[in-house]
């Protein structure tokens, strides 16, 4: 833990009770308006109910009344007994008093959704945030202000616009300075097959923020991969120590926003002119063996690979697809990340050729299966045979399922009914399990548009069949290999250190 965080903890002699923050049994929602009102706190109450929050919800508003069957307490003090956690969504000037009342009620923490603090750039905003910091130092941990809050599938805490997020837990944690990024990844991850341990949108980060949360997640047994979106850090030294310690234990994937070149700095020498924040951040992230990504999609794909693949380096792969160009694309992408496609020996080639459709197929590596309609059982056999090559550590199967649309049209059937995606998922998962060599699926999705909504629905179901069996799915071969490249870089460098 960094010096600042340690000093702050020591100042009230407490150990932060993250258990009561992420899995509260009694939670106050401060700022719920009576029937007919529609504030953030009302939205949060409905979202918590929709997702099935497992604890007790206690609504608070000085005006009293009731909302959605909850009697609204006129003050926190009226609530009998202690609370574990609170969501505060009252106007900014009222936040310090509400927070102090939560502290007196024994809350371990509170998230402040309200905006109108330091981010406004006004003296009033800064002063209010300073008050939050002072109250926090007396013994309540604060997430926010100006944030979307916490999503924790295990307890059913959810982000402000997160009524429809999954209750299924998984290994991915996400720390985000941006509320929008937090909900975007939660939704993106939902259909991609990412499952979350904890998502924390910490906004202005008046109290809890990147360095301390990294220390917590590094120790958190529910978290196997840490992702983060960061714009600026409160203390570069604390952050450096925290992320280095975390990355020594589990993968840390970082999307840095707001990178600029040296522009604004006074520059005399060449070194400073080259040392803009982009170059420095890039160097620092490599120094601590964090995985640096350039977009939220790349972050999600890296998390998918980290959370679905074993913790190791994949030096050699086999690529299987229908069409020579797909194989060439796989080979080119693999080379860019230092991954080999070893050429198969002649006896293995012969055994592969015996089961591949003729003509048009090629039994080298990449394996060209000639057309997109090869039965799943044959593809399963190809995967099992290719896995016999000791140099193959992982296989990439590219399947152009959208071509089934033309078959469906020809016979007047629904595309979802004739595409054997469930059988393929079953076969692939079994081949991966039996051979001990993971299979990564690539399901390109090139036919879109209003006339292809049936395909979109089928592709979504296909993806789900694979991901629920633990087979990661990517939309393009380049994305898959980039994600595998991140896994290789992380474990390769961790071992080297």
């Amino acid at each position: 833990m960094g010096a600042r965080a340690q000093a702050r903890l020591a100042s009230f002699g407490g150990v932060t009770d993250f258990e009561r923050i992420f899995h509260p049994r009694r939670m106050a929602l401060v700022g719920v308006s009576s029937e007919g009102g529609a504030g953030f706190a009302n939205g949060m109450l409905l979202a918590c109910r929709a997702i099935g929050f497992s604890g007790e919800i206690l609504a608070v508003n000085p005006k009293g009344g009731s909302f959605a069957g909850h009697t609204i307490f006129r003050s926190l003090d009226e609530i009998p007994g202690e609370i574990d956690f609170a969501v505060i969504a009252v106007p900014a000037p009222a936040v310090p008093a509400a927070l102090e009342a939560c502290r007196r009620k024994g809350a371990a923490g509170a998230e402040v959704l309200t905006a109108g603090f330091t981010e406004t750039g006004t003296p009033e905003g800064r002063a209010l945030e300073q008050q939050i910091r002072e109250i926090a130092a007396r013994g309540i941990r604060v997430v926010g202000p100006n944030c979307f809050g916490i999503y924790c599938p295990a307890s059913g805490l959810t982000l402000l616009p997160g009524a429809d997020l999954s209750r299924e837990s998984g290994p991915v944690a996400f720390l985000s300075q941006s509320g929008g990024m937090s909900i975007d990844l939660a939704h993106l991850g939902g259909w991609m097959g990412l499952r979350f341990s904890k998502v924390v949108s910490f906004g202005n980060g008046a109290d809890l923020r990147e360095a301390e949360l990294l220390h917590y997640l590094a120790d958190d047994p529910e978290t196997g991969v840490i992702a983060m979106y960061v714009e600026g850090v409160a203390d570069g030294g604390d952050f450096f120590q925290a992320i280095r310690a975390a990355a020594a234990r589990k993968p840390v994937v970082v999307l840095k926003g707001g990178l600029s070149e040296a522009g604004g700095r006074a520059v005399v020498g060449h070194t400073a002119s080259m040392g803009g924040s982009r170059a420095i951040w890039s160097g620092v992230l490599r120094q601590v063996n964090a995985t640096s990504v350039a977009s939220l999609e790349e972050l999600a794909q890296a998390c998918l690979a980290f959370s679905h693949l074993p913790a190791r380096v994949f030096r050699g792969i086999c690529a299987v697809g229908g069409g020579g160009a797909l194989g060439a694309a796989a080979g080119d992408a693999a080379e860019a990340y230092g991954i080999r496609l070893p050429a198969f020996a002649s006896d293995l080639r012969a055994r592969l050729e015996a089961i591949l459709p003729r003509p048009g197929s090629s039994a080298g590596n990449p394996v060209d299966v000639a057309n997109p309609f090869v039965p799943p059982a044959v593809l399963g056999q190809v995967l099992r045979l290719a896995a016999e090559d000791d140099r193959v550590d992982l296989q990439v199967l590219i399947s152009l399922l959208y071509h089934y649309k033309s078959q469906a049209r020809a016979i007047g059937a629904a595309v979802a009914d004739i595409t054997p995606f469930a059988e393929l998922a079953e076969t692939v998962a079994a081949a991966a399990a039996d051979t001990g060599k993971p299979v990564v699926m690539v399901l390109p999705d090139l036919m879109r548009g209003p006339e292809n909504l049936d395909l979109a629905a089928m592709m979504a179901r296909a993806r789900e069949e694979f991901t629920r069996r633990g087979v990661p799915v990517f939309g393009a071969v380049g994305q898959a290999l980039r994600a595998i490249g991140h896994v290789n870089a992380y474990y390769g460098r961790r071992r080297a250190r």
Partner: protein, 237 residues
């Protein structure tokens, strides 16, 4: 002794700040580097014409003659660097030109050994607002700016960090045995990068260090030119 080098450099920086300098002249910068065991050119600072021939004789021909002034951070752009001077006549002629261009500005004239090598690297130190002193390594000479092939690490650097910087630059093959040139002395390069970070950690008053070029004389890196920028807003420690 590490303590000695901190004291030596602190004194140099203090004196420069007291004179109102915003940068160190090349010769002063080299003294800072030498205190931290970075390999620098052999050189003698002269102020009069009469000193030139004995200095060049002691260094050995060919020599370089350069302005060494805190007021001229980028001297090659102003024609104040004369290289490959083969004899006394050439050295004296170069001195006359540099000294007259320097007239009225502080500093002196450096008579310096010529480092010959076909590979030029760059190293440096910058203070990042988030991460404090960060060390730079990249290709040197005119390639520094044209190719932008430079990487950074936060100080303090470990050996593995320095090794990784050499593996990360796009021009990393330059450090290997290529075209009849020997492989660069990586341990020496790593030592220099680690030492640069240490200077940044030990001396708050150093805002920036620019070593360009660092020439590979065979396998051996030598700092041929150096600029140290001081931090005006802080008292020098």
């Amino acid at each position: 002794m590490p303590d000695d080098r901190i004291t030596t450099v602190a004194l140099l920086l203090e004196q420069a700040a007291a004179r109102g300098q915003s940068t160190l002249a090349e010769h002063e910068a080299k003294q800072v580097l030498a205190a931290y065991s970075l390999p620098v050119t052999r050189e003698i600072l002269v102020t009069t014409r009469a000193e030139v021939a004995p200095a060049a004789g002691a260094i050995g021909y060919p020599v370089a003659v350069k302005a060494s002034s805190p007021e001229i951070p980028h001297k090659s752009e102003q024609g104040l660097v004369r290289l490959g001077l083969a004899d006394e006549a050439a050295a004296l002629q170069a001195f006359d030109a540099v000294a007259s261009a320097l007239a009225g500005r502080g500093g002196g004239v450096l008579v310096q050994e010529m480092i010959t090598g076909r590979r030029e690297l760059a190293m440096g130190l910058v203070r990042d607002p988030d991460f404090g002193p960060c060390v730079m390594f990249g290709l040197g000479g005119i390639f520094t700016e044209i190719l932008g092939d430079a990487v950074f690490r936060r100080a303090p650097l470990e050996q593995a960090d320095a090794d990784d910087m050499m593996a990360e630059i796009r021009g990393r093959e330059m450090l290997g045995a290529i075209r009849g040139l020997p492989a660069a002395d990586r341990d020496a390069l790593a030592g220099m990068l680690i030492a640069l970070g240490q200077i940044g950690l030990d001396h708050e008053g150093v805002a920036e260090i620019d070593l360009n070029p660092v020439i590979l004389a065979g396998p051996r890196p030598v700092v041929a030119d150096a600029l140290i920028v001081l931090r005006p807003e802080l008292p020098v420690l």
